[in-house]
């Protein structure tokens, strides 16, 4: 049984309260961080091998170190709680069941990057998580942990989004936070140089920040030792679809996909067989049933030709039609493309139309090659990573299940 970090208090009904958080060592890490130099905090987080847990997997300490040292400009810390990657739901659990870990992680990060003001951008649909998290922030203010004169001199603004997947992309999020439509911005300049309201900004995922107090309390070596050579810690896997026990599973990042499905989630229900798995949110390339002996860390999944992404694991049994699944996923990307870049705006729409007609039995012989061609041409040509994310499923579903698509096209009445 591995040690639980993020989920240690999840079983308690009042785990969102300050008193429970304090009972289990809460807010002792930030006290320790106050005695550390900002550069030492950053060094410690670098050594812990904490990777960003929102999707991109960028080393968190390295990201913090991009804030220009000694700059007199105000610096902002932004928490990306715009959870939206299909198949992912772990940040909702953290916001509702361990909000103070996020707040304490923010306080420590703020000290590391010399920030006085933080924003927590919560997706608009998360009304309940928003209420619970806001109450936790008020509780922290009342306890003198936040605000001017608190010893930390740090304020938190909880901000509600309004429904747009693209605002989970960090520069789209910043546009939205500034009161605009959530259009991503060209990088460079990176947010650490020019971010929210034109100032140096760090955008971190909820879970990434929730890990920070534990790293400060127990040390970088302890955290890095829980994981692989290049990624420390445990992380929260959101497992859904055809498993006996779907839910949030905390496991070391070195766990294999097979173990996650069969040991942690009870395997495939109803005596069915595994057909395919999406390992890291819908933007991750799909894996077939014989590709699941792979470690779930950022680099393990990268080597397997897919990605750890947001760690949203979607399991499909042998009753699933992959062409239908592709249609559902393609509909999502067509709906959520922000429309700024032509390759993304046009391709997502057309690929959805093609996938739809294949499912309707009106597919054409050339459709599969068209999907692959359009997907491959557009990859890497857009402002943000949204379209590259869409390309993951487009290519992998078609290439790995081509015969199933072809059979459907042959049996239909398409031209």
């Amino acid at each position: 049984m591995t040690e639980k970090i993020f989920t240690r208090n999840f079983h308690r009904a009042d785990s969102h309260t300050l008193s429970v958080y304090r009972e289990t060592g809460g807010y002792t890490a930030v006290a320790k961080a106050l005695s550390m130099k900002p550069a030492t905090i950053i060094e410690e987080v670098k050594k812990s091998n904490l990777r960003g847990l929102g999707g991109a997997g960028f080393p968190a300490g390295v990201k913090w170190s991009f804030i220009p040292e000694g700059s007199p400009a105000p610096k902002y810390l932004v928490v990306n709680a715009d959870e939206g990657e299909p198949g992912t739901f772990k940040d909702r659990y953290l916001l509702e069941r361990d909000p103070h870990a996020v707040i304490e992680g923010m306080l420590i990060a703020a000290r590391a990057i010399d920030s006085r003001l933080g924003f927590v951008y919560i997706r608009g649909e998360y009304v309940q998580p928003w209420r619970i998290f806001s109450a936790a922030v008020r509780e922290a203010y009342d306890a003198g942990l936040l605000g001017k004169g608190s010893g930390f001199d740090f304020d938190i603004v909880v901000h509600r989004g309004a429904g747009a997947y693209i605002c989970g992309e960090e520069t789209g999020l910043l546009s939205s936070l500034e009161g605009k439509k959530g259009w991503p911005k060209i990088k460079p300049p990176f947010p650490a140089i020019k971010g929210a309201f034109g100032q140096p900004t760090i955008v971190n995922n909820v879970e990434t920040l929730a890990a920070v107090p534990h790293i400060i309390n127990r040390g970088a070596l302890w955290f890095s030792g829980l994981g692989t050579k290049t990624q420390g810690g445990t992380r929260l896997y959101s497992v859904s679809g055809h498993v006996v026990s779907p839910g949030v599973v905390e496991a070391p990042v070195s766990i294999t996909l097979r173990s996650l499905i069969y040991d942690e989630c009870g395997g495939i229900p109803n005596g069915r067989r595994l057909k395919a798995v999406v390992p890291g949110g819908s933007s991750a390339a799909i894996l077939t049933a014989d590709e699941i002996d792979v470690a779930m860390d950022v680099d393990g999944l990268k080597d397997a030709g897919t990605m750890a992404g947001s760690a949203g694991v979607i399991v499909m049994d042998d009753t699933v039609s992959i062409p239908e699944a592709l249609m559902v996923v393609a509909r999502f990307y067509a709906h959520e493309s922000c429309g700024q870049c032509t390759p993304c705006r046009e391709s997502t729409g057309w690929i959805y139309k093609i996938a739809h007609r294949i499912v309707e039995g009106k597919g054409r012989k050339e459709d599969l090659d068209t999907i692959l061609d359009v997907a491959k041409r557009g990859a890497g040509t857009t402002i943000c990573a949204f379209y590259d994310g869409a390309v993951g499923p487009y290519i992998s579903y078609v290439e790995k299940f081509r015969e199933e698509f072809e059979a459907l096209i042959r049996s239909g009445n398409g031209a």
Partner: protein, 161 residues
Amino acid sequence: MSDVRNPAFTPLQLAEVRRLQALYPDPRGALLPVLHLAQETFGYISLEVEQYVGALFDLTPAHVHEVVTFYTLYFRAPKGRHVVSVCHNLSCHLLGAKTVIEHLTQRLGVEVGATTADGRVTLLTVECLCACEQAPMMQVDDRYEGHLTPEKVDRILEGLR
């Protein structure tokens, strides 16, 4: 009398608008929260509401329109007293979202995107609400409802007045 054609916040609400604006380095950061407040107050975001909110921020109606039309949670036409949003993304699809949607259209007698004649329920399909562990699921106003079956959907509908 303030309404969606002649919108005006109360003095108390205007104070809340100022409070929200003061939270951000640039007051325009409060645009989304104030639009949420406007929708709660006036029912939906009409062109008049866009103009009114724009004036509070010294923003053009065109900027506010661009924002309102970008996000899915702002309604630009009257909605029902309750909004039922069914997730039709991948995990919910795998576990029977289609059946849930068909059941709802049949029970409510409306197509997806429409509001019942008595103004009780607006039915929508939405992309992932990130509660896939409860698939198939939907949002009913502020709440998430998961592990849906036709029977459970019926019970939920009975509770909506």
